[in-house]
């Protein structure tokens, strides 16, 4: 199976799993289990928030065809790169499915836009968008992928709004995933000791810390020493 094909089935698999859940109404106990299972993954959620997440997961919004089309779009928007992967590995279609349920205002634009896309492709190329040749897909996208930054988005044609939304969800979904964050190179969210901008970065920007300012800043070698002051507020330790 080639990569494109396997990713397609990956997206289909997800949607099918969602359908299966939807098909039989979740029993209370199942919902309970889903909630407590969530506790391991979503630390910091209140019980009410976990319940809401479980409910959203139990619903299905996009049908398999829509999920496949979104997957194809996402991979066109951010083509996978060798070292990290792409939107499908980053779970972008699932993220879009979840957000469409979490923020229902997105639904009509997304679903209507997908219909527009297929209509356009059927008219121009006698095939649905997801099955068109990549060159044909790009031909369609080239006409809707650019927006006029001087005009409010909601005043621009639906297909432009649609693509803008899919692009936003793709880029946001990808760069908030583990591999996307790695690719971006974000270095934080880890215990560390901030001790200023690296010298070579300061040099590159033609900036320097002033002696007077630095003298007031924390001496990180003494961060573990309990603070004591004289009566005028001068730090002694």
């Amino acid at each position: 199976m080639d990569r494109r094909q396997s990713l397609k089935s990956l997206a289909l698999g997800t949607a099918a799993a969602g359908l299966a859940l939807h098909g039989c109404k979740m029993e209370d106990q199942e919902l309970q289990e889903a909630v407590s299972a969530g506790a391991e993954h979503y630390f910091g959620r209140t019980p009410e928030e976990l319940e809401q997440i479980a409910k959203l997961h139990a619903e299905t919004f996009f049908n398999p065809h829509e999920m496949e089309t979104l997957s194809v779009l996402a991979e066109l928007i951010l083509p996978p790169v060798e070292q990290y992967g792409g939107p499908l590995e980053a779970g972008v279609p699932d993220f879009m499915e979840f957000m469409a349920k979490d923020i229902p205002e997105l639904q009509v634009t997304l679903r209507g836009g997908l219909m527009w896309l297929d209509h356009k492709s059927n008219t121009e190329f006698q095939t649905e968008f997801k099955s068109a040749q990549q060159a044909q897909q790009k031909e369609i996208l080239d006409a809707i992928a650019f927006y006029d930054p001087e005009v409010p988005l909601q005043e621009q044609p639906l297909e432009i709004q649609f693509f803008s939304l899919v692009r936003n969800l793709t880029v946001s979904g990808y760069y908030t995933s583990k591999l996307g964050i790695e690719e971006l190179g974000y270095k934080g969210n880890t215990p560390n000791i901030w001790d200023g901008v690296p010298q070579h970065v300061l040099d590159k920007h033609g900036l320097a810390y002033e002696e007077e300012w630095l003298a007031k800043c924390v001496d990180q070698s003494k961060r573990g020493v309990i603070a004591e002051w004289d009566e005028n507020g001068n730090l002694l330790t």
């Binding site: 928007i77 908030t176 573990g224």
Partner: protein
């Protein structure tokens, strides 16, 4: 249904567990008193893995941090928000006030910005300067010893600068500025705006053996699991529980009213237990209200009796009046010099490392009170919304905006960390016709009548916001940047945010020496019921161009010492 009475008589019942309630708990319990703390929300400890949001990655959530359930993003620590299901509030005459409530142990201190500014001498007597508002009955000298003690007990970094209205203190050393903050310093100086290290309550250095030291994850809004930032639960209530007094926590308990006897003195409180939805009562010798300025006003106004027909402490008809929030207006800019950044970890403390205290002389300006400038920017952790319109800034270079494919990837990285933003936080004039009152037509799901707000900004605040916007635009230009968005117009109040939005609401039970023009005396004791005290921001006469928390803490300490003294002398 019979109200269930608890047989214990507490020395003090404290309503609310945020900054004001937390400090009262600490001081009263340390004095050996038997204290009940009644909190409307659940127990919360950021060290509990189940409740922790600190150090979580966006991909641990299916919505990647989107703000669907929590207004400041789903990893923000505050339970609650601008709207709480089942607990509405209403508005009068088409006016607007947005009310942020956080029901949980520690309240809003779990997520706040930790900007910890003392009010200055002028802030207590500002009417003497411009004839507006009212003077406080106390002066800076009265509160200074308590600010000093708060600095040492809780810990705040900053620097002694010798400024006349931004007093020095007992500071921990501040962290070094980040790259965009160095750009800010340079840009601000071009315009003659001073920049100094921030004053914020995170521990850059150890202050005791109970609390950890900051490890620079930049996530104070998520509440710190090693207690290296100030939250009322972790830094006041938990230590109080280990002290010599008795502290009984009543969580998920929503206070309905203060109960009084035939002499009009408080006997305790009645509350709804949210878990069984039944009504209970607690008895206490003293009641300390610290439910937040508006919630406390609501409790007082709902505490009607034969002795207090207009609500408790409301003979003056001033409970709820003089409500005011800080003004706020914001702007962002794109700084080309910050494109294509080398990426390193600059999370730092949660929030800014530098800021600008008010520098202007209002005598020469068309608005009476000042504001300070908060700065943000940097290469933060991506969350929902990251990468929206990823190459919008292409328009500054005449390049197409939008597109797809490999170019998008490059654009995301090119612009990562190139935006800075400014928030102006200023002083509004307290006015009697900005108020909250009881809406007799509406109750919440606990059956308690709700608040109705009436609030309008005046030209004093609008002109101040106009000045903020002009200043921000100049700063962004000074930094070689492009201002984002259009200059807000007069119709848009110059970008002045709706009242309540800065979450610094104060003034609803203001203090004073004259019972006709104030609700509490200078020790935050109700004029009309001497065993009821208010230690949230309700007693503030004016808000200053500072944030209110450090003053809430200092005043709560002062009032609590007074309570201990009065109990000892058997005056109450």
């Amino acid at each position: 249904m019979q109200i269930k009475e608890n047989a214990t008589v507490y020395d003090a019942i404290i309503v609310g567990s945020g900054a004001g309630g937390g400090m009262a708990t600490k001081i009263l319990a340390d004095a050996g008193l038997k204290v009940a703390v009644v909190e409307a929300g659940p127990f919360f400890d950021p060290k509990d893995p189940k409740q922790q949001t600190q150090m979580k990655w966006p991909y641990e959530s299916p919505r990647r941090g989107a703000a669907t359930t929590r207004d400041f993003g789903e990893f923000d620590a505050a339970y609650g928000g601008w709207e709480i299901e089942g607990e509405p509030y209403t508005h009068k005459d088409g006016t607007k006030f947005d009310w942020f409530r956080s029901h949980m142990l520690g309240g809003r201190t779990n997520h706040w910005g930790r900007i910890s500014l003392r009010f200055g001498p002028k802030d207590f007597k500002h009417k003497d300067v411009d004839g507006l508002g009212e003077n406080w009955p106390i002066s800076y000298e009265d509160i200074k010893p308590y600010y000093d003690k708060v600095d040492k007990l809780i810990g705040v970094f900053g620097t002694n600068e010798g400024l006349p209205n931004d007093p020095d203190g007992f500071f921990l050393p501040p962290p070094k500025p980040r790259l965009h903050e160095l750009y800010y310093i340079k840009g601000a100086r071009k315009t003659g705006i001073p920049v100094i290290p921030s004053r914020m309550s995170m521990l850059t250095k150890k202050i005791n053996n109970e609390r950890g030291v900051c490890f620079y994850c930049g996530q104070c809004s998520r509440a710190c699991q090693v207690y290296a930032d100030f939250s009322a639960g972790t830094c006041l209530i938990f230590p109080a529980q280990k002290g010599r007094g008795q502290v009984d926590l009543f969580t998920n308990c929503m206070v309905r009213e203060v109960t009084t006897d035939e002499n009009g003195k408080a006997t305790g409180v009645s509350y709804i237990n949210k878990e069984d939805r039944k009504e209970y009562s607690l008895k206490g010798r003293v009641v300390v209200l610290a439910a937040s300025a508006c919630s406390t006003a609501r409790i007082l106004l709902n505490s009607k009796s034969k002795q207090h027909p207009n609500g408790l402490g409301n003979g003056s008809d001033l409970v709820g009046k003089y409500l005011h929030d800080s003004t706020g207006s914001s702007r962002a800019g794109f700084i080309p010099d910050l494109m294509n950044r080398e990426i390193y970890n600059e999370d730092g403390v949660g929030g800014m490392h530098v800021y600008s205290p008010w520098w202007g002389d209002n005598k020469n300006l068309d608005f009476p009170r000042g504001y300070h400038i908060e700065v943000w920017g940097g290469m933060g952790m991506p969350n929902y919304g990251f990468g929206f319109n990823p190459n919008d800034f292409n328009r500054f270079f005449g390049l197409p905006t939008g597109g797809y494919g490999e170019q998008l990837r490059k654009d995301v990285k090119k612009y990562y960390g190139s935006v800075v933003g400014f928030g102006g936080r200023g002083e509004a004039i307290a006015r009697k016709d900005n108020y909250c009152e009881i809406d007799p037509t509406t109750v919440d799901e606990w059956g308690i009548p709700v608040l109705r707000f009436h609030y309008k900004w005046s030209d004093y605040e609008r002109k101040q916001a106009r000045h903020m916007q002009a200043t921000f635009e100049e700063l962004i230009h000074n930094m070689g940047g492009e201002v984002l968005g259009d200059t807000p117009s007069a119709e848009q109040d110059y970008g002045l945010l709706a009242p309540g939005r800065i979450i610094h609401e104060v003034g609803t039970t203001r203090m004073g020496d004259d019972p006709k023009t104030s609700v509490t005396n200078r020790y935050q004791q109700l004029h009309e019921a001497d065993n009821v005290f208010i230690t949230d921001a309700g007693p503030f006469v004016s808000q200053a161009d500072k944030n209110c928390t450090w003053t809430i803490l200092a005043l709560s300490w002062r009032a609590s010492e007074y309570i201990v003294e009065q109990l000892k002398q058997q005056n109450i």
